[in-house]
Amino acid sequence: MRHFTKLAIAGTLAAVTGGAAVAQELFLPNLSYRTGPFASTGTPIMNGQRDYMIMLNERDGGIGGIPVNFEECETGYSTEKGVECYERQKANALVTQPWSTGITLQVLPKTNVDQIPILAPGYGFSPMSDGRTFQWAFNPPASYWDGAYMIMDHIADGDMSNLDGKKIAFLHLDHPYGKEPLPVLEKLAAEHGFELLPIPVGLAEMQNQAAQWLQIRRERPDFVVMWGWGAMNAGAITEAVKTRYPMDQFVGVWWASHSDDLQLVGEEGTGYRAISWSMPQNDAPVMDDIQQYVVDPGESLASEEERSEVFYQRGLVISMMLAEGVRTAQEMHGVAEITPAQLRDGLANLDITEERLEELGMTGMVPPFSTNCANHTGHSGAWMLQWDGEEFVQASDLLEADRSVINPLQEEKAAEYAEANAPWPVDESCNPS
């Protein structure tokens, strides 16, 4: 029995000291996935996010003088584990970084009740960018719908009417994530007269897409647009090489720009393109700081090669957006220890200008963008990256989505969501000029 008493005392002590420590830090947890089927793509992003926060702690003593507690909770990309993590952290968390569309969908309806902002950079539910309806959700700097529009715009050489009569295959994961851009693509297809051929890839067949590529070979589409994740990307790229599909007609979303997937095919993958709102800049000043404050003391979990790749540096950009949100909130409210509601204000007033990027030492890593209470995405636009056989290089100027096409759709879907989840509060006071 004495044994158990000790255990109980140790437990209480830890809880008490843990509770005391919370008071002097910014608790910004992350629902990471370094295990499970998507670990290979998750790990570099998580490493980037983590290293940026460590760098801020070491270099500046945190944000606004308060150290960041960047705790990870491992989900393995499982929704069940994600919810467990969310429940565990929500008492102290300033933000939720859900890292999976499934977890986002589950946490999103709770945001109005729990009042913790969700930060889902470049993923999640596209209509979240409607800040009046989704007051607590943020998906900067670009949504999937932006991405879909920009890809179509780019392959049409800037004039969508060029696509008239073309056939475009949409190879996607058969999952909420993969279906996300369909409404925009369908709308564009109807408007501009191209034929959209959705080809779903089930979760179980990600690694063996022979059937899908047989269909692509038979249909001979002019372009293949891919919305894949994890093992699906590598599967699609190797299969495309095997069936000799012309790689310069094959375009992926930003989550399909993992260098490791293309290293599998190397030279043969030359010409493959992926849209991306982040770009690796190995000589950016921030990389030197990472080297000095994180890598040299042996704190980084990433290898040198990994640090030069798209995903790791995208992780840096994601943490930068969160840190900027915190900084903005601190400035707006004049306090260093912010609350989740104040962080929401910060994230809704992000202003990442060219000058700010230069101050941060991240010029060229992400396009400038700004958010407001109605626009939780910022719609930064994105670049097209192209695989040159060894690495991803920039292949286009900054592309931008025509929001006049997407906005009506966004309003419709946001209203639908609010109606299905009634009573759902809509922020009527927000009317940005």
Binding site: S32, R88, P176
Partner: protein, 358 residues
């Protein structure tokens, strides 16, 4: 000493056939029920409700459903996850088509849809047995998941292909959706689970339950003593799928809040099957013990390093967790191949004799 059965005379058949012929069993159950109904709801935190209490109850109910089919009637099924999905989608369609419907009624009705589907996929059991039947139910698993993905009417043509639980109230109390409190949801789940467990215990003790056991032990012999195999097997599929379907509806409406088709994938079927096997096939108590081991233990283990102030990376904790759970499963199966319920039965027998082993 504590569990002394001496002196508890049975003077009527009625008292001999009572649910708990031994007084201590009844007392123990009362204590557990008091814990479940009174003490836990007042002491549990949001975290405990959402990650321990509610999921354990729901998984235990799903395992009870499977146990009727596999443990009592001897028909192996690998389609539990999909049948849970049928219940969940049925409930979703019911509450979206009839928004005024009481959720309790919708949940209990949705079981009938999965029961119908279960009977349809149970028909091959009349001709095939054992592993071959498992393959037939596996077909149900894959077919139904495919249907959940492709039949857009099921998820109201939602662009993401997922179903989302709306805010639902019963007499002004929110019971489902983001506005519902965990305590309300817990009581809702507990009420349904208690009701169905009492029904199941009585069903398995009655004529139907005995015919299932006869079929399980030797179906030819059962047929020879006059049991209608068609009726017994299909009833097992119907009752089992009904309970599994209700568990599926609770799973989505009372706990998850949203669901995409692959949530009901084969992994869920295996999870429920593991709970039933480790808990003990052919036992009701076992489902609860199994659910505690498989669902609650990983969550508790996850909090252990933090409680001691140890700084371990969460990915490492996850890896260690998987290893510990795996080792425990093997350990329990070596110590007691008949499951945790049998382990409890042995402990109880020892307790009845203790402290005088003769």
């Amino acid at each position: 000493m504590l569990y002394r059965t001496a002196g508890q005379y049975k003077t009527t058949y009625r008292s001999d056939q009572a649910l708990f012929p031994v007084r201590q069993d009844a007392i123990l159950l009362m204590v557990v029920l008091a814990f479940g109904w009174v003490i836990l709801p007042f002491t549990a935190s949001e975290f405990v409700f959402q990650t321990l209490l509610i999921p354990v109850l729901i998984y235990a109910l799903a395992a009870t459903g499977l146990n009727i089919l596999t443990g009592f009637a001897g028909q192996l099924s690998l389609g539990t996850g999909a049948f849970m999905g049928v219940g969940a989608y049925a409930c979703y369609k019911l509450v979206t088509i009839f928004p005024e419907m009481n959720l309790l009624i919708a949940v209990l009705l949705s079981g009938f849809f999965s029961a119908a589907v279960g009977v349809a996929f149970g028909l091959p059991s009349l001709r095939i047995k054992g592993f071959y039947l498992a393959i037939a139910t596996l077909a149900a698993q894959f077919f139904l998941i495919w249907l959940f993905e492709k039949w857009a009417w099921l998820y109201n043509y939602n662009a993401s292909g997922a179903i989302q639980v709306p805010n639902l109230d019963i007499f002004g109390w929110y019971v489902a959706g983001p506005l519902a409190t965990s305590t309300t949801q817990y009581y809702f789940v507990l009420a349904v689970v208690t009701l169905l467990t009492i029904l199941t215990i009585n069903l398995t003790r009655g004529a139907l339950g005995r015919s299932w056991k006869a079929v399980r032990d030797m179906d030819i012999a059962a047929e020879l003593i006059g049991i209608n195999l068609l009726k017994a097997k299909l009833m097992a599929f119907a009752v089992s799928s009904y309970i599994v379907g209700v568990a599926g509806a609770l799973f989505v409406f009372m706990w998850r809040g949203a669901a995409e088709p692959n949530l009901f994938d084969i992994e869920l079927s295996f999870r429920v099957l593991f709970i039933a096997i480790i808990g003990g096939l052919g036992s009701i108590l076992g489902n609860y013990l199994g659910a505690i081991l498989i669902v609650a233990l990983p969550v508790i283990l996850n909090t252990v390093p933090g409680a001691f102030g140890l700084e371990i990376k969460s990915a490492t904790v996850e890896h260690i967790n998987v290893m510990i759970i795996g080792a425990l499963i093997i350990f329990f199966l070596i110590v007691e191949p008949h499951g945790l319920a049998r382990l409890w039965q042995l402990i109880r027998e020892k307790l009845i004799l203790w402290p005088f082993p003769h």
